[in-house]
Every structure is written in structure tokens, then in C-alpha cells.
């Protein structure tokens, strides 16, 4: 007689019933597709100290995941080609900006399987970026299937080498120390449209000609690419007088299971800001929920 049969039976019954989250699927598939297209010689390991990992350990991870989808998709989907002088001028102009404000509106529908009813989500994020003082993001997310609205604020302060996420509804917050490398990585990250413009510049795009947005004459550029795995369409509208972006629209579909649409607009360039605009205060009754 097997003396451990009951233990064996119990372990069998305690097998985890788990499904991978959509953000994980997106990340792994995108990185795997990229590896298929451009296999490197060495092993691929996730960097436990990467800024993305740190983001994903915070309550801000859904926002980070959404923004990450844009970035990863852009890297994967845009083929390389010669750039355009006009778009290069836009990129050059944007690179000179020290402070800017913009808004991200996102709608996302994710189905667990093809044809299944999707989970719908809406998100609004107001972003302020200063090369001197840091980044402030104020995020409101609405999960339509749960009729649940959550708000969060995130600050990244270069002087303090720290990221803070504040959740007023839960009366809680998290703080994360950032190393010099992580701060450098942060500077290269795409919390703004600059990364997307850079990817367009390095890829193939078409000139949409002229149009008007809120009475402003604009010129449009469009990239569209994809395959059996997913499709990404990016449309950039640029003010023809200032050569600065006025609106960015990104639509991403994956495997007929996820469709997301981003509108990035309400740009304000070189607005005056002070360190006080990036200073956050955590009320005494908030709980520190930072994970070790």
C-alpha cells in the first residue's frame, strides 16, 4: 500500500487553476514575434531591474502596460526603411522641447478567446513631462464590465531618484527607489509621443496631406503594418506652422482577441512649470503598500 496516497491525491487536487493575464500575453507574444524575426545569438532573460518590471510591481501597471503595448508594438511592427525629411524635422523639433503636457484617452476590449464577449476598459491619463523636474501622471480608469472607476497619481522625480504612486480611493501609496541606470532608462522610455515619432521615422509611412483640427491647419502621416498576428495603425497630425504634433491616433488589434484605440492630444509645449508642480504630499492616514 502506498503510504503517501492521500498526500498525492491532495497535491493533485491543489493544482492551480490559473490563466495568464492579457498584459502578459501581449508582452510575451510581441517579444517572441520580434525574436522570430530578428533572432539574437545569446539567451534572452528578463531584466529584474528594468523600469518596466518596476512599473508592473506598482498599482500603475495597467497604465504602464497600455503604454508598453504602444511601444512594443511599434518596435515590432514598424519595418525599417529610410526616413523622411519632413518627419525628421518634427522629431528634431520635439526633441528640443523641455516641458510638455498631453492627454491619453484609451479604449480597450479584450476577449479571453476569439468570439468571447470582450472586457471593456476606458482610461484617461493626463501627463506632464519636464526634463528638469520629472513626470507626473494622473490616471482615471473605468472598467465597464465591473462599472468600477479608479484614480491614481504617479510621480517620477529625478532629483530624488524615486517613483511614487498614490491611490486616493484606497488611501494607500507605494514608493520605489530608482537607480542611476533606471533613471537613464526612464529618459529613453516612451511616456510621450517622441518614441512613436522616432519609430515612424525609422519605418515606412505615407503622407496624408493637409487637414484641419480645431481650426488649425495640420499635415498627417500614417503608418500601417501587421500580419496574421496583429495590426497597428498610427496616424500623426502635425501643426504646419509650429511643426509640433497636435494629435496622435493609434489602433492596435491582436489575434482578434484584443482591440485598443489610443488618442493622444491636448498637447501643450514648453509650458512653464516649477518643481512645486511635481511635488507630492502623502496624507498621514494613507497606508504604505509598497511590495518588498
Amino acid at each position: 500500500m502506498n503510504p503517501y496516497k492521500q498526500t498525492e491525491d491532495w497535491i493533485r487536487q491543489t493544482r492551480p487553476d490559473i490563466e495568464t493575464p492579457a498584459s502578459m500575453d501581449s508582452r510575451i507574444l510581441m517579444d517572441s514575434y520580434a525574436a522570430m524575426t530578428s533572432p539574437s545569438s545569446g539567451p534572452v532573460h528578463s531584466d529584474p531591474q528594468s523600469l518596466r518590471r518596476i512599473f508592473m510591481k506598482t498599482p500603475f501597471k495597467l497604465t504602464a502596460a497600455a503604454i508598453g503595448i504602444i511601444a512594443v508594438s511599434a518596435v515590432f511592427l514598424f519595418p525599417t526603411n529610410a526616413g523622411s525629411i519632413a518627419l525628421a524635422d518634427v522629431y528634431s523639433k520635439v526633441q528640443q522641447v523641455q516641458t510638455y503636457i498631453y492627454n491619453i484617452s484609451m479604449t480597450m476590449a479584450v476577449s479571453k478567446t476569439e468570439g468571447a464577449p470582450p472586457q471593456n476598459m476606458e482610461m484617461e491619463t493626463a501627463v506632464t513631462v519636464s526634463t528638469e523636474y520629472g513626470v507626473k501622471m494622473e490616471n482615471t480608469m473605468h472598467r465597464l464590465d465591473q462599472d468600477k472607476i479608479t484614480t491614481q497619481q504617479m510621480y517620477i522625480i529625478p532629483g530624488e531618484k524615486k517613483m511614487a504612486v498614490i491611490m486616493p480611493a484606497e488611501k494607500s501609496y507605494t514608493t520605489t527607489e530608482l537607480s542611476d541606470d533606471q533613471m537613464e532608462e526612464f529618459k529613453k522610455q516612451n511616456h510621450d509621443p517622441r518614441q512613436v515619432i522616432e519609430q515612424m521615422l525609422n519605418g515606412q509611412y505615407t503622407d496624408l496631406g493637409f487637414s484641419k483640427i480645431d481650426g488649425v491647419k495640420v499635415q498627417g502621416f500614417q503608418s500601417q503594418t501587421g500580419d496574421d498576428a496583429g495590426n497597428l495603425t498610427t496616424i500623426l497630425w502635425v501643426d504646419v506652422d509650429t511643426w509640433l504634433p497636435i494629435r496622435l491616433e493609434i489602433t492596435l488589434t491582436m489575434e482578434k482577441k484584443m482591440e485598443s484605440h489610443f488618442v493622444i492630444d491636448q498637447f501643450q509645449w514648453n509650458v512653464p512649470v516649477t518643481a512645486a508642480d511635481f511635488k507630492y504630499t502623502i496624507p498621514d492616514d494613507y497606508t504604505d503598500t509598497t511590495q518588498p
Partner: protein
């Protein structure tokens, strides 16, 4: 549904759809296996990520030997072992390792956080990694001892002895658990306790 040989053929021809089908077919098993081995959601995700990206790099020259699922499980076991050794060097306290704040979980992930699974993770973390991976491959992933031996590249005698030592230790830990009030509240423990 395509069989594995057809999928691998298309994968080697550069089909992203084939890679996606492979991922969708095995992702939950691999993620659950990594979770049980490592007790950490984010690290488990990284393990599955690394395994699939490495697998994707083999497109064009991958040769299927045995079952693809077993190959991927072995890759997860090996990558998890590397990370486990790194983690062990830091000598994190057990309670810190298994304490998983529920706020970081999605609703899908939350389902696994039953008291019994938490208890299983806790006692699994007290046996050597080599024994743990064999027990999980056999009892959670339904591999035979011969398949485990082939998958891990060790002899079947080694597999069986590690399995037996590990199971013996787990049974003892469960028995001790019933005497300890701190774990006695875990429902199902009595039924799991060996007579």
C-alpha cells in the same frame, strides 16, 4: 486544430500564427508550473517570457524530439532553477517569499489564491528544488516518471528516489501542520493528512 508536427513545421517556416497557437495551447500550464515552483507571480511571468522568446529564436531550425509540451516544461524548470538559485543566495525569509498581497492579482489570478494552494506553496518551498520540480511535473503536469526522467535528462531511478523523499517530507510537513494552530485553519488539511 493542427497537430504538433504541423505546428512545428509552420513555426519553422516563420509562421507567427503557429507560434501564437503554441503559446495559447501551453501558456496556462507553464505559468501555473512556474508559479508553483517559484511562488512569485512576476518571476513566473518572466520565466514563461524567457522560455518563449528563446523558443521563438529557434524558428527555422527547431527539431521536435518527444512532446513539445514536455520540452517547454523542461525549459520552464531549468529557467526557474536558475532564478531559484539566485533567489536562494539572497536568503529571503520563507514568509516573505510566500506572502503574496492580493492587490497585485487580476481576478483571473486571484482564483488560485485558495488557502490550500497557499499551503501547498508554503510546504513545497521547504523541500529541495530538485524534489519539488519532480513532484509538480508528476502530480500537476501528469508526466510519467519515465517522461520526467527524459524531460530533465536524469535517470528514472533518480526521479523515483527524489519523488519519494520529497513526498515523504511533504507528508510530514502536512502532519505537523495539523498540530500547528497557525495552519490548522486551512480547510482540507485534515483530509490531506496521511493516516
Amino acid at each position: 486544430m493542427l497537430d504538433e508536427k504541423q505546428l512545428i513545421k509552420q513555426f519553422n517556416q516563420g509562421s507567427k500564427d503557429a507560434l501564437c497557437q503554441i503559446y495559447q495551447r501551453y501558456k496556462n500550464d507553464l505559468y501555473g508550473f512556474a508559479m508553483s515552483l517559484l511562488h512569485d507571480v512576476q518571476t513566473a511571468e518572466d520565466v514563461v517570457h524567457d522560455v518563449f522568446v528563446s523558443f521563438a529564436q529557434k524558428s527555422g531550425h527547431y527539431t521536435l524530439k518527444g512532446k513539445l509540451r514536455n520540452y517547454l516544461l523542461a525549459s520552464v524548470a531549468n529557467r526557474s532553477h536558475d532564478l531559484w538559485r539566485q533567489k536562494s543566495r539572497k536568503e529571503r525569509p520563507l514568509d516573505e517569499t510566500v506572502a503574496m498581497p492580493t492587490t497585485q492579482y487580476s481576478p483571473e489570478q486571484y482564483r488560485i489564491l485558495t488557502e490550500e494552494y497557499t499551503l501547498l506553496q508554503k510546504i513545497l518551498s521547504k523541500i529541495p528544488y530538485e524534489q519539488r520540480q519532480i513532484i509538480l511535473l508528476h502530480l500537476h503536469q501528469d508526466l510519467t516518471f519515465r517522461e520526467v526522467a527524459c524531460t530533465l535528462g536524469i535517470s528514472i531511478n533518480t526521479v523515483q528516489s527524489r519523488y519519494r523523499y520529497g513526498l515523504e517530507k511533504l507528508s510530514t510537513l502536512l502532519k505537523e501542520g495539523t498540530k500547528n494552530e497557525s495552519v490548522q485553519t486551512n480547510r482540507g488539511l485534515d483530509s490531506a493528512n496521511p493516516a
